[in-house]
């Protein structure tokens, strides 16, 4: 069941178009991330849904109701802001109580719901504190609790982890994800951090320059990127330019400077393409090439090796002049200057229209 639908949303700031034909269907209970570089329109999209920005063209449906022109206070949303936006003159309880009072919920009911939500975000015992007396992580959880206590139909999160330090950020990812699963609330999460989007989302919407580049589950986004931009933005990638020369079953044969490369790709691909291979899918062999997949085998030379603790990052230049990056074990004998054979399976290469 769809809880939220964006239908061809367009938005302009003066002459600049910041959103172009945004179409999005979000199902009940789904966790969707809007991901992209700064200025891609992800926050603007969220603010349009929240009602803080007006939409120039297009329609926003909540269920079957057209809410395009509704005031923010009538949209039944919970929102968590990057700055948390806690009310500094109110205690934790008063912050949480605000939305309930506005909804004219009876005092006894309010107390019960506030206690339940505070327990959920593990802040029982902090009721009387003011926001300034809490740590960043605790403030963050108060902001989450304040948005959830009104039991909204959709939860909107605008880069809520951006102001936390790294270790806390990792914990909070799983905390928010768990909480979302338990409550079962439809959630839209804006972030520029791809790993955050990856671990939390049911579906990721990758945006760039006001358009949706790709929309799909994390695995699809990572393994089957629809465009160069997506491949480059999510994780590390190696790309080899070439031309489609033929197709065998589901495998394309791509003519490149490195010779023919076998690769998967979307249906109907032809002409100029780029073949993308993730670093972890490249196998290296200092010997005769017996240890690498036979489908695609390239000769090359290690140009740099950077020790990383849990392994080394190798920079390899192939015979055809393409730069590859891959990871090897820390005890690998391959050092700068060493000759190497690299290989990757056709199933782990993905061709993208250039």
């Amino acid at each position: 069941m769809t809880t939220l639908r964006l239908d061809r949303i367009n938005k302009f700031y003066g002459a600049v178009q910041v959103l172009r034909n945004i179409d999005l269907d979000i199902a009940q209970g789904e966790f969707v991330s809007l991901l992209g570089p700064s200025g891609c329109g992800k926050t603007t999209t969220l603010r349009c849904i929240a009602g803080f920005e007006t939409v120039d063209q297009g329609t926003i449906f909540f269920g079957s109701r057209d809410m395009t022109r509704a005031m923010p206070e009538h949209r039944d949303l919970g929102m968590v802001f990057q700055s948390y936006a806690l009310f500094p003159h109110m205690t934790v309880t008063e912050n949480l109580s605000f939305g309930l009072e506005v909804r004219k919920i009876a005092a006894a009911d309010r107390a019960r719901r506030i206690a339940a939500v505070l327990e959920m975000v593990r802040l029982t015992g902090f009721e009387k504190r003011f926001p300034r007396e809490l740590s960043g992580g605790q403030q963050q959880r108060v902001a989450l609790a304040r948005a959830l206590v009104i039991e909204p139909s959709v939860l909107l999160l605008d880069e809520p982890l951006a102001n936390l330090d790294a270790s806390l950020r990792d914990d909070m990812r799983f905390f928010i994800r768990d909480l979302q699963r338990r409550v079962g609330i439809t959630t839209i999460y804006v972030t520029h951090d791809q790993s955050e989007a990856m671990v939390m989302s049911d579906r990721i919407v990758v945006m760039n320059r006001g358009v949706i580049e790709q929309c799909g589950p994390p695995r699809e986004i990572y393994e089957r990127p629809a465009s160069q931009m997506v491949a480059g933005f999510i994780g590390q990638s190696n790309t080899v330019p070439g031309r489609v020369a033929g197709r065998e079953n589901d495998t394309y044969l791509v003519e490149t400077a490195e010779g023919p490369i076998r690769s998967l790709g979307p249906d109907g691909l032809s002409g100029e393409v780029r073949v993308m291979i993730r670093p972890e899918n490249i196998t290296t062999d200092p010997g005769g090439g017996t240890a690498v997949p036979a489908a695609n085998m390239l000769a090359g030379r290690v140009v740099k090796s950077v020790y990383q603790g849990d392994g080394c990052i190798l920079g390899i230049e192939s015979a055809g002049g393409t730069a590859f990056t891959t990871n090897v074990r820390a005890d690998s004998p391959l050092g700068a200057g060493a000759a190497v054979i690299i290989g990757f399976d056709a199933r782990q290469a993905w061709a993208i229209p250039a």
């Binding site: 803080f52 929102m79 802001f81 003159h89 605000f98 939305g99 506005v102 948005a147 009104i150």
Partner: protein, 265 residues
């Protein structure tokens, strides 16, 4: 931390500045308790006789009451219109308009008071109100003290994280409720300081009052000036002392009720 020579120098400079600022005031207070016939040093004995003269003089009473009314109305009216103006400039005016507007709003501070007074005098006679019913003088006081409220509220608004308002809206509060429960508490310290300034300044204004007052209704500074023209006894110092005392009490009350310490300059 170890004190360096500079710490002592800074302290000494600070003390000198305070002595320079405070000694005239202290002198006036001191002289109001003089036993002599004239405002002069050295004092001839100590007495409360000038306070007696003062409280027996109903003209000072009436003038003080008039000044108090003018100051109170100025503070209250500016509390409303100064806040509205600050909200418009800080939140609603386009960036291109905001800066010129800000300068315009503090205009009364930039234009010499006497010019404002003359302009208002012409204006009120032109529209036929003249100097009746203390309308002109009241408007003059409001105009001149307006920037104090505007500036204080505007600076509070610039430090205010507007996503708090958005949070309130998303929680279901309409515009008015959001203003009352979220924005107003955030700008309250600025608003109170602004109103306090407006009150104190209005109590003190001379030029505007001189030109715009209605017949027979002197403000305290005008009354004091009139008095000093013909008398040079310490009653004037007693008036000043009482007036300082009232201001001091007002500041103290504000500090105790809403807390000036919560204001961050």
């Amino acid at each position: 931390m170890r004190k360096t020579l500079w710490d002592y120098v800074y302290t000494a400079i600070l003390v000198l500045i305070y002595v320079f600022l405070m000694s005239p005031i202290l002198l006036v207070v001191l002289m109001s308790f003089s036993g002599g016939e004239f405002l002069a040093l050295p004092m001839e004995g100590v007495s409360l006789r000038w306070f007696e003269t003062l409280f027996a003089n109903s003209r000072f009473y009436d003038a003080a009451a008039h000044s108090f009314r003018l100051a109170l109305v100025s503070a209250l009216v500016n509390g409303v219109i100064g806040t509205l103006a600050a909200i418009y400039v800080a939140h609603f005016a386009s960036p291109r308009l905001a800066n010129p507007l800000r300068v315009l709003m503090v205009g009364p501070l930039l234009v010499p008071e006497i010019l404002t007074a003359i302009a208002l005098l012409f204006f009120f006679f032109e529209i036929g109100i003249g100097n009746q019913y203390s309308v002109a003088i009241q408007v003059g006081h409001i105009v001149v003290t307006f920037p104090y409220v505007f500036l204080n509220v505007a600076s509070a608004l610039f430090n205010f994280d507007r996503s708090q308002e958005e949070a309130a809206r998303s929680l279901g509060a309409g515009r008015w409720l959001t203003f009352r429960r979220i924005t107003l508490p955030a700008i309250k310290p600025g608003l109170i300081t602004g109103c306090l300034f407006a009150f104190v300044i209005s109590f003190d204004i001379f030029n505007i009052s001189l030109l715009l007052k209605s017949v027979g209704n002197n403000t305290l500074p005008l009354e004091l000036f009139d008095y000093l023209r013909f008398n040079f006894d310490p009653t004037a110092a007693a008036v000043a002392t009482v007036s300082i005392f009232i201001t001091f009490v007002a500041v103290l009350i504000v500090d105790r009720t809403v807390g000036l310490r919560s204001l961050r300059f």
